[in-house]
Symmetry: C2
Subunit: 335 residues, 2 copies
């Protein structure tokens, strides 16, 4: 909180200044997710005044550590990527420093509020990188209340025990528990855990103080509708991301082969920013998205044709049972 521009998250300006001075960097890149972008100019000014380095800010949208600005990387001596933890397979270069923007908010009150809502004895804890350093606090509250807490390690894409990504719930699968307690904002992460594990998930938001049980039934109905609409599709556009940590070309190629084996037409489309407008250019009966797994779910109904996940496409082709419908993930092992 040493920087006035940051109300809730620590941008670590002193650390950044030290790194720049130590390495003698002359040009420095900043990459922020959308929620933090507005803090860029003020932080840049502070850093330029303190170090004499020239700061170059990435103006493109940024959705995760999977979405490192590679062109910016070519132009700078070091790149600070804010708001996300390093993904083992996406660091790309030793020139990249991840500033995780940890939250200072106290998570204990909302965990205390959640305790009476918990039904099980063994509680699996899950959270995002912003609160991951506070999980011991949550454990302490739970254990004081007579519960047992477990925190999973997850696969190699996960930087910290207990951390879930929008595209990786492996931590939850590692946690042998009766139910889950998610600490953080937003619906997507706890929803993914509920769909992946079929267990009850309670979500506790330390900013709003709200505690609620996650209900995956609406998303399941939406996904079933997308699959149903695609059953008669003949021409598929298979989307491959050009983002470093989202690119699944091999998967896309194998889906294309499967499609052709079943007498369907399929085209591979490599794309950076997948938007409804941009996909208007492609006249297909359905899209299959191998880019960010959240897209098909978060933007359901907004694309010019139904958008399937790879697992849903397998259901359409008759290669996976409807009962085995899960959210798509980018993990070490296929889901």
């Amino acid at each position: 909180m040493s920087l006035g521009t940051s109300e809730a998250f620590d941008l670590r300006p002193d650390y950044i200044i030290n790194v720049i001075r130590k390495l003698g960097a002359k040009t420095v890149g900043f990459q922020f997710p959308e929620g933090l972008k507005r803090k860029g100019p003020k932080l840049a000014k502070k850093i330029e005044e303190a170090t004499g380095a020239e700061v170059l800010i990435s103006g493109d949208p940024c959705f995760g550590a999977c979405d490192l600005d590679r062109t910016l990387l070519e132009h700078v001596d070091i790149l600070f990527h804010f708001g996300h933890a390093e993904l083992e397979d996406t660091k790309l270069s030793d020139k990249v420093y991840f500033i995780e923007t940890r939250s200072a908010v106290d998570i204990r009150p909302v965990v205390e509020k959640a305790v009476p809502e918990l039904k099980g004895q063994i509680i699996g804890l899950i959270t995002t990188v912003q609160h991951v350093h506070k999980l011991p606090d949550a454990c302490a509250v739970l254990e004081t209340s007579g519960k047992t807490c477990v925190i999973g390690r997850g696969d190699s894409r996960i930087a910290y025990p207990g951390q879930v990504l929008g595209c990786n719930f492996s931590v939850a699968r590692d946690e042998v528990c009766d139910e889950y307690l998610y600490i953080g904002s937003g619906d997507f992460h706890p929803l993914g855990v509920a769909l992946s594990t079929k267990k009850r998930v309670l979500a506790a938001d330390p900013f709003s103080g709200e505690v609620r049980e996650v209900d995956p039934s609406r998303v399941l109905r939406q996904r079933s509708a997308v699959i149903a609409k695609s059953l008669d599709a003949r021409v598929f556009g298979i989307i491959v991301s050009s983002k470093n940590g989202q690119e699944r070309m091999k998967l896309a190629s194998s889906l294309k082969e499967s499609a052709e084996k079943h007498g369907k037409e399929a085209y591979l489309i490599l794309i950076d920013l997948v938007t409804p407008d941009q996909l208007l250019q492609f006249k297909v009966d359905a899209f299959v998205n191998t880019a960010c797994p959240r897209l098909a779910v978060d933007e359901v109904g907004r694309f010019p044709s139904p958008m399937l996940t790879p697992q849903e496409f397998e259901i359409v082709l008759g290669e996976r049972e409807w009962e085995k419908l899960v959210l798509d993930e980018i993990t070490e092992e296929p889901v």
Copy 2:
């Protein structure tokens, strides 16, 4: 016109098939500008059936040869870039083939229609790559009518004599003439030539058959208004493109230095797709755009703050006279 999908432009499928077979390419990239993107899947199917290669289509917006899909290039053995001529400094790799999609339309009728509207004796011809092979036809019509025609060479960024780009009017400056005849669609190219040369430009559209005199006064008024609105600006966002043929980092850095010398604040923003929405993230008094020179003019009034060209920024700082206002270009020598 050998491909059914192409009404007006030649996508050269037979040439593409020959290149793929000759090189034994296994994976092939296609990149189209927006107006041709819908032809991608049908052409991909034809090429895949004929060669057995796997085609990967770029889904990102594409605005010129300046905008080569470098990630696609990493994934393919060869890349066919449609709709633009090679720019000497932007080819990047021998793996790239430019398919210029020449138009088959006969330009003689519209040139005949233009002759009575011409006031001078020596006529400078200018056009886009789609019609550049037809300039001898235009010359013949003019000379039959007693005029003299000149066709300039342009600088090193220009592939063909007589060709103008939205960001390069060097061909016109090479043409010693009384007035210009532009053959093609759209207002931007002839407008740029009128502003660059201060001479009369007649535009003849071979598709619509329309002939009209270009009037740069409205754009000049708009540019003056943008400059006037920026005179009191204190904080500037200087935009640098991450596209291979639009990146002018040195220019951007020197503009930042100039700004600071004049007691202004300036931030460098590296960005791929410059849109009004994306710039909403940056709270500045004015933007200075070193990316595609057309942006500031084509999208005037749509950005969250006034957007200046580099030359207009010089006027704001008092380093260039108002009378020396020209459209920005990306050329060998600064304009």
